[in-house]
Amino acid sequence: MMKVNYTAAMMTGNEAVAQGVKLARVKFISAYPITPQTTIVEKLADMVSNSEIDARYIEVESEHSAMAAVFASELAGIRSYTATSSHGLLYMHEMLHWVSGMRLPLVMSVVNRAIGPPWNIWSDQSDSMSQRDTGWLQVYCESNQEALDTILMGYRIAEDEKVMLPLMSMEDAFILSHTSEKVELPGQDDVDSFLPELKLGFKVDASNPLGYGSYSTPDGPFMELKRDMMESMWNSKPIIRKVTSEFAETFGRDYGGLTEDFMTEDADYIIVASGTVASTTRYVASKLRKEGKKVGVVRVRYFRPFPEEEIRKAVSGASKIGIIDRSVSFGGAGALSLEIRSALFRANGPDAVSFIAGIGGRDVREIDIKNMFRMLEEGNSGNIFINSGGVS
């Protein structure tokens, strides 16, 4: 490992993200405030106003317009950034397709917050999970450090010539966004060598007018373009692994790739989780190991592209697995559960129980995770709401 310079400081997840955007030398920012994302763009607005970063900041009247603004700036070949949460993300939905369909390597932060009604500002992944089909790469972070590091890795991955798709990086509301912990800020020079300047091959040029995403008949190339997006998603997997390991070599922090395994090798019961819930699950699993229970954890970092092979491999020896979703697809199960079940079905994998937990910011406690492992041992099946009225 190369020796890198860094400074360490206590900061919230949102400040860590803003520092990441600064280090990534983003040149254009447009956003609309929404709790709990607001402090990211507040911090960035301060940085622009104090000339700490060389970027233009545009205030807009809605999230739809914020995404339209960064769509245009990316198309002009300028590295851009925006952030949102919850209803703001839903309001962007149409423009998310435009950015991915135009193959623009934008990076956006989403601070996961519940969707109303009733109004609720707390942690819940329903907002980003309902954007899974928009053609964006999705990363779920579990620490403030990872939230910063994902911005740096995110631009590298999104801007790779084999990927050219936008990426959204998630933080759990308040648990990361507004809670301070120690974060290492890498030096600008090291970041500059890791993340070179954006060079877009097809940027808008007034002397060579072109139609950008203008029109396509059923005869083509519409279907071919969508198929190419699918192929780029699959192609992004080796790029993600490569960039993650290059990041580890440069900065000394290894996030393992698309997923992170914890004591899965000989585990009978494995829980798959994402975000900060995965940290609590690891903590509980370590305790249960000391009691002699063979349990393990898989943390899903990337939900898009979906890490099918990784999850299959990690849980292949388990007798039963549980999947924690902090979101629910009504009439189905949790989104993560549905996809993992489908991946395991094709591989004759173990039975997978869907645990719906922490909806609307309800705390996912040590006792809740212990109960989930207990239910796996006792042979429960199906879709189970955890720590919710009427269900044990």
Partner: protein, 97 residues
């Protein structure tokens, strides 16, 4: 390395007339060259042409510009046929293989 949805000359390459299911046909023998069809066409798919020798209801109309339908872009909406004061535009069903 990836496909980007860019196009030059996009409206010239994409002939939107392929959307049409009914084709307007002008009967020049009845056409009084009023150019109302040209004014109402919502897609600029009717052009006025001069110096054409086509039939007319009378010889005084012969030197005037005639409306011609650009089937590359006419979507067959039928507004021209509806507005024509002489009812000299017929909509014919088109069949494609």
């Amino acid at each position: 390395m990836v496909l980007i949805p860019l196009a030059d000359k996009s409206s010239r390459m994409n002939l939107t007339g392929t959307w049409r299911t009914q084709r307007p046909i002008i009967e020049y023998e009845k056409c009084i060259r009023c150019s109302i069809c040209w004014k109402f066409c919502p897609d600029n798919a009717i052009v006025l042409e001069s110096g054409q020798s086509v039939a007319a209801p009378n010889s005084r109309l012969l030197p005037l510009d005639i409306p011609r339908i650009d089937y590359d872009y006419c979507k067959g909406c039928g507004i021209c046929a509806y507005e024509c004061p002489e009812k000299c535009i017929e909509m014919e069903l088109e069949e494609k293989d």
